[in-house]
């Protein structure tokens, strides 16, 4: 059981961004990807979830053994892939509750309809856990939300939809320390032997609260270093500068450089 990424190359408008990503996230594991801005972290998240702007030019991805890349984004989601967006978009006119009902309904077998009572029980339970006011669920999704509210709404959706593999793209950015703790706690509650997480972050800070099993460093569309949680601390001390210098050029093969 894993989300397996093999030699993934992808580009946007003729411009290669991902240049050979290989990574396996097994159920029960939490991986962190760190890297400088522009290294392709969000691109990886969007390619995995099937964003139409990106073109995969090489490689494969499978979710629990099922090839992912020829599936539509909504199918991938129903297979168990969830992406908490770095910049969640605003959807005016669609309330959080109605949005989540549609998402929950889509996961039921054909012809079955959602129990509204159970849905709201679950929704309010998760909102309580995230310290969200219940009226919040009738607000239009992300419309006019503060940065922190948006990130919280992402984690609420994560908690409601219970994916097999959750990707969090800079869910920590724009959060103050209290909000960060709430969000981290929300994620930690969902961790377990059945669930895999990929936490994308620019800073080490979030990893103080969500301890990853593995840390990877991405530079210029490749994973250039992997290690345990200590790697994050090391990066925090050293910065990305030397790594960028070493791996930043798209023409270099990081595998050759590191001798793997």
């Amino acid at each position: 059981m894993s989300l397996q990424i093999c030699d993934l190359h992808a580009r946007i408008v003729e411009r290669p961004i991902l240049r050979g990503i290989s990574l396996e996230i097994r159920a029960g594991e939490t991986h962190a990807i760190m890297g400088p801005n522009g290294s392709g972290k969000s691109t990886l998240a969007k390619v995995l979830s099937g964003h139409p702007d990106y073109e995969v030019t090489q490689g494969s991805v499978s979710l629990d053994g099922v090839p992912l890349l020829d599936r539509e984004p909504d199918e991938r989601a129903r297979m168990g892939l969830f992406l908490a967006f770095q910049y969640p978009c605003e959807i005016p006119g669609v309330s959080i509750a109605n949005f989540l009902r549609a998402a929950a309904q889509a996961r039921l077998p054909e012809g079955e309809s959602l129990s509204v009572t159970e849905f709201y029980q679950k929704l309010y339970h998760e909102m309580d856990a995230l310290g969200m006011q219940r009226q919040f669920s009738s607000r239009s999704l992300n419309a006019g939300f503060s940065g922190g509210e948006k990130k919280r709404a992402e984690v609420l959706q994560l908690a409601m939809l219970r994916p097999r593999y959750g990707i969090l793209d800079e869910t920590d950015s724009g959060l103050d320390i209290d909000a960060l703790k709430v969000v981290a706690n929300g994620v930690n509650r969902l961790r377990g032997p059945e669930v895999g997480f990929l936490i994308i972050t620019h800073y080490q800070r979030l990893l103080d609260y969500i301890t990853p099993d593995f840390v990877h460093v991405m530079v210029a569309g490749r994973i250039v270093q992997s290690g345990g949680p200590e790697l994050a601390l090391e990066l925090e001390r050293r910065g990305y500068g030397s790594l960028e210098e070493r791996y930043g050029s798209p023409n270099l093969s990081p595998l050759a450089e590191t001798g793997v």
Binding site: E72, P73, D74, C89, I91, V94, F99, A102, Q105, Q157
Partner: protein
């Protein structure tokens, strides 16, 4: 367009009980028939028919006074029985069911009656108001046809200072594909009166029919009218609904329409702000599907100073549907300090759908605030991707967007019960 003469000849005789009209009404009918024959057919060369698909404007052999068959009658009984509100239900122009006003309302002098009954019992009132208004936004020929044929419909009269507690329900149905209907709605609110009217146009049969209705709404000084129209004709129906609303000093009106169904639906809505302080809110939400066409023309006529009008028309277009919005804000030289707003928004869900938007202003006063805007757009691809990423399939995501887009118009209504009923109805028809 082909409008055979038999419509008029059969109108009074075709129904179970032939309509007995007072002489003044007969005269109007006869004159209207002459107008009808004299007036030219709508033409695309006429600016007021620009973009209209005139091939859809047709009577299709429909006739007035088609009898209502037993199964349809049973269905309609079902639609009627719920609720306590004063109601009149017509099918194919025959009055089938009615529930009168509360005793309190009657005591206060409120009148709510079928037109034919009111024409005898309230002869003066009717004679001075019925067929006095011209909407005149292009469909003059149809308006004349209506005058020549209309006998079904209702008059609501609320005397000065009286507030009608419950809304009155008026519904007009067609039960057969070859039925034609000519409903007329006459509302007269005296000074400081208040009323709410719920109007429904619908079919029991799955397709076909022709409807041409006219609304004449007189809102006296300080009076207030809320009028909600829910239009949901069967597939293939060609319909016209022509409305004129006269607003006296400090009068206010909110009209709202939810449009669905039909083949070709033309609405003409004229708001005449005739007294200082008058205020008109004009709202429309349209769900266009299949090959349906909704052709909406509006006129915000500012005659007096310090008047306010606010129009919001929104349409969601699926499949190969079409919409036309042509609106005009007209400000007379005397209408200083006019505050007028006009907004038309279209959400396109299919490559084959087509929205035409023609907002317009004609301002002859210098101290005014007039704004208009129109948009034709598709679902934002990032918003769509967001929905898909949550596992919501494309069709369901579009439903969410359409609901959000159109319920935004409902949000402008004050009555919470109405809002949720409309939302439920829209949800159900999108399912």
């Amino acid at each position: 367009m082909d409008l055979p003469k038999r419509v008029i000849t059969e109108a009074p005789n075709g129904s179970a009980k032939p309509a007995v009209l007072p002489a003044w009404w007969k005269e109007i009918q006869d004159a209207a028939w002459i107008d009808y024959e004299r007036l030219p057919m709508p033409s695309r060369k006429d600016e007021r028919w620009r973009f209209s698909d005139l091939s859809k404007v047709a009577l299709n052999g429909c006739t007035a006074g088609v009898p209502v068959a037993a199964p349809a009658l049973a269905d309609l009984q079902g639609y009627f029985s719920s609720g306590e509100a004063p109601s009149l239900l017509f099918a194919n122009d025959a009055l089938l069911f009615s529930r009168g006003l509360s005793p309190e309302a009657r005591e206060k002098g409120v009148v709510f009656a079928p037109l034919l009954e009111a024409a005898t019992k309230e002869a003066d009132l009717l004679q001075s108001h019925l067929f006095q208004e011209r909407v005149g936004l292009g469909a003059e020929k149809l308006e004349s046809l209506h005058r020549a044929c209309a006998t079904a419909g209702a008059a609501l009269y609320v005397p000065a200072g009286v507030e009608l507690a419950e809304p009155v329900d008026l519904s007009f149905w067609m039960t057969e594909a070859h039925a034609a209907t000519f409903p007329h709605i006459l509302v007269i609110l005296q000074e400081n009166a208040r009323a709410r009217v719920h109007l429904r146009f619908s079919s029991t049969n799955p397709r076909g029919g022709f409807a041409c209705s006219v609304q004449e709404l007189f809102v006296g000084p300080g009076a207030s009218l809320d009028l909600l129209t829910h239009r949901n004709w069967a597939e293939g129906v060609c319909s016209f609904d022509l409305a004129s609303i006269r607003l006296s000093r400090d009068a206010s009106a909110t009209t709202f329409q939810l449009n669905q169904g039909g083949s070709y639906t033309r609405t003409e809505s004229r708001s005449r702000l005739l007294g200082p302080g008058a205020r008109s809110v004009m709202l429309s939400a349209t769900l266009a599907r299949g090959r349906q066409e909704f052709d909406q023309r509006s006129f915000q006529e500012h005659v007096a100073p310090d008047t306010k009008s606010d129009l919001l028309y929104k349409s969601a277009l699926y499949d190969a549907s079409r919409t036309i919005f042509a609106g005009m804000i007209d400000v007379d030289p005397a209408a200083q300090r006019t505050d007028a707003y006009q907004s038309n928004r279209n959400l396109i869900l299919s490559h084959d759908a087509e929205a035409n938007s023609l907002p317009g202003l004609e301002i002859l006063a210098n101290d005014v605030r007039c704004t208009h805007g129109s948009t034709v757009g598709q679902v934002d691809p990032e918003e769509l991707f967001y929905c898909l990423q949550r596992g919501i399939p494309l069709a369901a995501a579009q439903r969410l967007f359409v609901l959000g887009f159109l319920t935004d118009v409902f949000a402008r209504l004050e009555d919470g019960k109405i809002k949720s009923a409309l939302t439920e109805e829209l949800e159900a028809s999108l399912r």
